[in-house]
Amino acid sequence: MPASSPASTGEMARIPGMKTQRNAELGLLAFAMILVAAYGATVEASRIGEITPTFWVPAALLSILFLGLHFVVRYTAPYADPVLIPAVALINGLGVGFLRRLDIGDALSDKQPVPSVFAGIGGRQLVWTLIALILAAILLLVVRDHKIVSRYAYTLGLTGIVLVMIPAVLPASISEVNGAKLWIRLGAFSIQPGEFAKIALVSFFAYYLVRKREVLSLASRRVLGIDFPRGRDLGPVVTVWLLSLLVLVFEKDLGTALLYFGLFVVTLYVATERASWLIIGLLLFFGGVYVAYLLGASVGGPFANFYDRAQVWLNPFDNENYERLGGSYQLVQGLLSLGTGGLFGSGPGGGSPRFVPEVQNDFIFAGMGEEIGLFGLSALLVLYLLIVERGLRSALAVRDSFGKLVAGGLSFTLGLQIFVILGGITGLIPLTGQTTPFLSSGGSSLMANWLLIAMLLRISNAARGPAASGGGTDRAGGGPKKAPVQLHGAMTEVIKP
């Protein structure tokens, strides 16, 4: 059988004439860092009244970090997408800048001297960025071929479930923050394991669905004009999904539940190319939400939280909702912030974001919106859109199904997360606690999302590189001599009549 011919080129051999676009990436990165520095300078000018001599330090530090990642990409994934890193770097940098702006604002209102660059939440975010970028670089260095990941699919699936479950099992004193049991808190240090679980779960779903794809889309029973696959084929995926959902009910976090549900439905849709999955998913979701709402109104108990949130969403300006503890105060303040900002905002450093509770986390978009206005926010939104688009394009272009599903699932998750939190802040959908990717303060979210970007870079490298690196030809990578076990090793199941 003239199967794939081994092209063990070790390091990726560059083929002359192929554009790697790495220089474009470097240029964009420099531009992004200039913007971050300009933001810092504007903040200091309007907040302190003068530009301090150290205004460029955060931007310079970030530049060094991103430059490091850029060189890792140059070396390990030369054909990766040129837009992902600069766009994410800009958002990340503006996030750091905004958090530093909050530090400066807090210090000045307390009549304290201007905090140093490394102090406060801004400084902490810098450190988190460093750690996140190191993790991303490690992922790029270790995973030289995204198909290797499929070897550990079941391990990853199990890890994902365990990660989601840890906070539910832990006592509330360690795991609960603001009513949501999502955390592991050890002293000053806290992580949100669920953020990492999404990457693991995407890989598991992708692997499993690639193997079962044909069975799922062909051996189905037609009920009411919609094709349902056989239960036994779907078992493990549904189990994983139900487990994560159950756990999330106990952790009282609707946003993450919605994220996993959307991820599950979309991966299924991409794998089977059947729109019926989307319809089933949406119906199930809206049905479930409505039932939960009714249950919350009549029974209360675990659903009461959800009912309250729906009330806040429907009538934020209702006085009773506004006054109530945990009511619509935050949402209303966020909306007022966005309204005050108007079209062009009050200028970086010119607003008063501290009126909004949790402005450094969930509501960072409202806080930034007050200062950069609709004009600036839409630029950020377009950047997010482009990041997701590049991920989906890699999914379209990559030539193996596992890569397609992973890239598609990851980019969709990122997009959905942005939708969930922005929809919540702007009152489009009920507010659920989610971090704004790359922008909000917090290490887990930053690390997990940079890992996600590293994975997308890896897949886009395979998608855009010469055929040898992306197709079925095995490449021994830097790793063990044995060629990676690929999905074709485990043949897709064949339907027997």
Binding site: S4, I34, G373, G376, A379, G472
Partner: protein
């Protein structure tokens, strides 16, 4: 800080932000059209089945230029491009093919393209429904000129410079 400077900084920042967005879009745009040197940027729509325009001089047409890309012009994967190196390209439904086509009329290992002395050859790998170069069925390794459709089931592929 005088008010004027602040206003300039404020709007300057927003404008720079948008310039960045448009630069990113520009890079994406260049990236999309990179390597497209043929006149038609868009592959022929589905179902047209890689119908070669009658006036195209088929075989000898563009000799001399090296093929750089393999483009799918019809079928489910229409629009897909593979940049050619020196490695053979395998085509079929099997998951390990370079180009995995989900076409009911394709075999698991349907055909492959091999580079020999600067010329790409197409070779049928014992497929059930055969591989066609333009109109003729491929029986042995056959040189593939640029722009001539290779047909596998409902899928058409072409070499492009």
């Amino acid at each position: 800080m005088p008010e004027f400077v602040l206003t300039v900084a404020r709007f300057g920042f927003l404008i720079l932000l948008w310039i960045f967005v448009f630069t990113v879009v520009g890079v994406i745009r260049r990236d999309l059209f990179a390597g497209v040197r043929s006149k038609s940027i868009v592959a022929s729509p589905r179902g047209v089945g890689g119908a070669v325009p009658a006036d195209r001089p088929a075989a000898k047409a563009k000799r001399g230029k090296a093929a750089r890309q393999l483009v799918v012009t019809a079928g489910q994967l229409a629009g897909t491009r593979i940049t050619l190196g020196e490695i053979p390209i395998t085509i079929g439904r099997a998951e390990d093919s370079t180009l995995v086509i989900t076409d009911d009329f394709a075999s698991a290992r349907h055909a492959r393209l091999v580079l020999r002395d600067g010329q790409w050859f197409v070779e049928d790998l014992g497929s059930t429904n055969g591989t066609y170069l333009d109109r003729g069925k491929v029986s042995g390794p056959t040189p593939v000129p640029l722009g001539v459709p290779i047909r596998i089931g409902r899928t058409s592929l072409e070499l492009r410079p």
